[in-house]
Amino acid sequence: MNNRTTTTTAAGARPAAIGSFGGPSLRLPLTLGFVAIVFVAGAVAPSYFAGDFMLRLANEGLLLGMLALSVAFLMNQAGLVALGAASIYGGAGLLFAIAMSEWNMTPTGALCASFLIIVVYATVLGALIVRTNPLAFMMLTLAAGEMISHGVMLEGLRDYTGGADGLVVNFKGSIFGMEAADFASPARFWLVAWVGAWLAGLALWAVGRSRLGAILRAVRENEERMRFSGFDTYLPRLIAYVLVNIVAAIAGLLHVLNAGFVSPESLGLSISTNTLVAALMGGIAGSVGPIVGGLIFSFAQDEFGARGLTQLLTGIVIVVFIVVFPRGVVGGLWSAARLRARVGRRETS
């Protein structure tokens, strides 16, 4: 599914290859208009129609969706499964809380510091592990994630991390004009999370359609051929790994701003596996699927928890989704729509 401009060659007009953006098209203004309507409606409508409880669930779903987006992008573009997403998500929040309480930084300063530390960590870890094969990569991200999540529970670090009790965020001041109460308000936070999810989705969508995305997919498909075509196959994967961890870190920072608290569970394996499930449920092929998957998962978990059968029903739903929607909900609906359009075109012609 490529939007291509045409370039004229001796072979005749030829659609431009992957890595180029679409040119003028009748569909483009309509698509942009539709997207703008969805964006504005989604930003505004929930605050009017949903109560605080539903908005809280939706906020959690959006943040889980952003985290799922980071995992989905790496899977889809690079063929790599990262099982340590929670360590970045929770780790960013924990660093923010530590920066506020221990280092006495301003909220903006703490945000920047925790973000930078995560970027450095992701770069160093990525430099070591993206060289490996996909299975080893998955296990190494799991190991690194578990190392972090258990490390914060060490008695020697308890004064910084709060240990099993977690850490309350000592938020004084404001970030981009928003204070602690604004971030804690479900309705106001929904707007922040919605914009954050859109920006993350658009950014990764743009990367996916760029030359970097084309190279990542080609490396995923045939790494050896890429090397034999003169490509460095290491650096693109490292860049992708750092980018997705940036998205995960942003999700984690938004989470801690909203919750006002960071618990050790937010760095744990269950968050990482929930993230993977959300990505698979929604679909990993684009930016919309993981966000939708996060929302579905968040609401489903609440519903199942109310019945006291969280784990059982979650397991059943996962199996059903993967059987009925092997490409995820969004992927399945998209395929169905395209098939219907193709059938419609055949019938009219």
Binding site: A11, P15, A17, I18, G19, E221, N222, R227, F228, G230
Partner: protein
Amino acid sequence: MLKVEKLSVSYGSVRALTEVDLEVRGDGTLHGVIGPNGAGKSTLLDAVCGRRRPTTGTVRYRDQDITRRSVAWRRRQGMARSFQRTSVFQDLTVYEQLHLVAQHLGDDRLDDVIAVMDLAGYLDQKAGRIAYGVQRRVDVALALIGRPHLLLMDEPGAGLSAAETLRLFEHLRDLVRERKIAAVVVEHDVDAVFACCGTVTVLDLGRHLATGTPQEIRADHRVVAAYLGTAA
């Protein structure tokens, strides 16, 4: 163009190549490499292109020792390889993958490669859905992009009929002659090799057996005894 000196490659305790010498000139002739199964032909190409690190020996390319250089570096310096088993991007269209590589190597004459390999009719098709013979051509086309100085082709005729193999060899011979580049071709189809190659090297059990013109090789009793038999 290419000088291989005392090249040895071992896989554990198995010696795949033993002190092989090879010299290839960049004068526009095809240099064929033949030998029975297990002779070390593919291993030789692997060592030259960097896919396999030699145990001992050197590989010199354009007067530079490249023994320790990476595969990607060699490619960017104009050493291209095609594979015995077709290695293309199944989920990309023919044009997408050719363009991706051409863009990276700064080759703005992709149309020439498309024309030479007769791929114009398949550009919009995904490589995974085209016939094997066309996939072979895509594989070779990927090696031709970037105007390489040295082509290393590992059984380019594998899976093709005798007629298709001969046609491919003739294509390659003309291309190599026209561009004055060097090409080393490993091939089992001895008839095609003798018909199109100006120089032929014979390997047997990892050792160099003989190098010469096709006529000299046919007449070499060691080669006849080890490989060609009475058919030559």
